[in-house]
Amino acid sequence: MRRMPSLYGLTFSLPLLAWQLLFFVFPLVFLVALSFWTVKNFTMQPGFDPVNWVTMFARPVFWQAYGTTLALATMAALVTSALALPCAYAVAFKLSPKGQRWAIFLMVIPFFTSYLVRVYSWQIFLSDAGIINVLLGRLGLGPFHLLNTVFATLVGYLTLCLPLVVLLQLFSLIFIDRTLIEAAHNLRCGRLRTVFEVVIPAGRVGLVIAALFAFILSFGDFVSPIYLGGGDPTTLSILITDTTKSGQQWPRAAVIALTMIATLMVVAFAAIRFAYKGRAK
């Protein structure tokens, strides 16, 4: 199939390449340069000064936000994966092909609804006089303070991640060789043991990738921690929006963004290694 690049071929290949180089790679590379610029009298000056890195890394609030973000995203990845798995398992193994198509269709819908509107909607459920507290009140319980808590932030992350995680888990479970499971049953392996010793290892790659996506999405989200979590304790993404929008401290925001990218790359690399560990292919 290999041939010399022709005008015909380049007409189709080049536009995307050019666009993604110009408007995807260059902005990210520029972010690196920007992190070494300085801000004097509210204007940015090009340069090569590590001052932003030194300033940001010396701030306790930065490391506090880093720890919070890491903890929240890890928790979101684990909780979402754990809550999604029974659902994906049931759809993969208990529903008819028609039911599966419906489940997939329904799980795709949330991608096309506004995340902001859904977060606002959760405020209606979780606020002190909100739906959940009114219902609990009728049972003589509460009121509980739900909004502006870590719990509410996690509800937001779950709203963001659950549909994607269910779909990714589902696609990895659907393609598991059914004979493996029958073999386990024939060998008198119990239901739950089959799940943990056959189904989960067989679908490991997809399950880990799904958790990784939940981690990435939660790590970068600033909406849930602000509008459900109350913005306190602060996260890295909140720090970026604050640093960018209030004043001209873009170089410092760049430092935060690059630290986030580095962290995500390490986590993604570790997750993918873990996913494929022991799979000699």
Partner: protein, 267 residues
């Protein structure tokens, strides 16, 4: 229970099915609540429901800023859809047809952008575009949205191409068609449903994207950026009215795409 394995397994099945229903209830609760409360008169929505009212729709419809946001959103969405579908089609065809050195890097560039957190993309775009004097207008939103939408278009078209017999194009060449003719008479007609599907899906993605748009749009705010503004200011059930409207619009696009994409099964 353990005495009767069949019974026990039925109970587990029932439990699993109930769990699936519960998971869907969690996913759809905020969507449904937003719909219900958009017709509810209370300033601070909760239960029991207040009176049925269209006041939030009226408030939204009489807000010139909302109309301006809607115009921006629609204009930007249509252009983003056209451009990212064209770019995505080219990339999908490249992957389908050509083998070349560095193809993995090419494919990474074609697929990676949606995995970068939007705050980071937003900041990088804002800094870079303002450096080259392209920030703070509708064009900057279009540029940024095409970056994240083109991968979706590429994936949709690529999926369709993988259902095509690769010899079909070669057969057209053997019959004397030029590469361009084969493209126009074989490839494009075969992928047309996917092209239209990609067009709708990328438009829907652009309609809902708020974070990058918030960073780069300046005064030309799109509707989702306006919603973010409402959320920051005095929270108001107007969000529900806008949300319901945008939901109906997006779902129209998605269902349209679904109908087009499922036509393949009728051939």
């Amino acid at each position: 229970m353990s005495a009767n394995p069949a019974n026990r397994s039925r109970l587990v099945d029932l439990g699993l099915r109930a769990y699936v229903v519960l998971a869907f209830a969690f996913v759809f609760a905020p969507i449904a609540a937003s719909f219900v409360f958009s017709f509810n008169s209370d300033r601070f929505p909760s239960i029991p429901l207040g009176q049925m009212s269209l006041q939030w729709y009226q408030a939204v419809a009489s807000d010139p800023l909302v109309w301006e946001g809607l115009r921006n959103t629609l204009g930007i969405g249509v252009i983003v859809g056209l451009v990212s579908t064209a770019l995505g089609f080219g990339a999908a065809y490249t992957d389908f047809r050509f083998k070349f050195f560095g193809k993995q890097v090419y494919m990474a560039l074609a697929l990676l952008p949606p995995t970068i957190p939007v705050v980071i993309m937003g900041l990088a775009m804002l800094a870079y575009l303002s450096r080259i004097d392209l920030s703070g207008n509708a064009l900057s939103v279009i540029i940024a949205h095409v970056v994240i939408c083109a991968p979706f278009a590429m994936a949709i078209v690529r999926l369709r191409l993988s259902q095509m017999d690769a010899d079909l194009e070669a057969a057209a060449w053997n019959l004397g068609a030029s590469e361009w003719k084969a493209m126009a008479h074989v490839i494009v007609p075969f992928t047309l449903p996917a092209i239209l599907g990609a067009l709708f899906i990328t438009m829907a993605v652009s309609f809902d994207e708020f974070a990058i748009a918030w960073f780069v749009s300046g005064l030309n705010e799109t509707l989702p950026v306006k919603v973010l503004g409402f959320l920051q200011g005095q929270v108001s059930p107007r969000i529900n009215a806008i949300g319901t409207f945008v939901f109906v619009l997006s779902m129209g696009l998605v269902i349209g795409a679904q109908v087009l994409l499922s036509q393949k099964s009728k051939e």
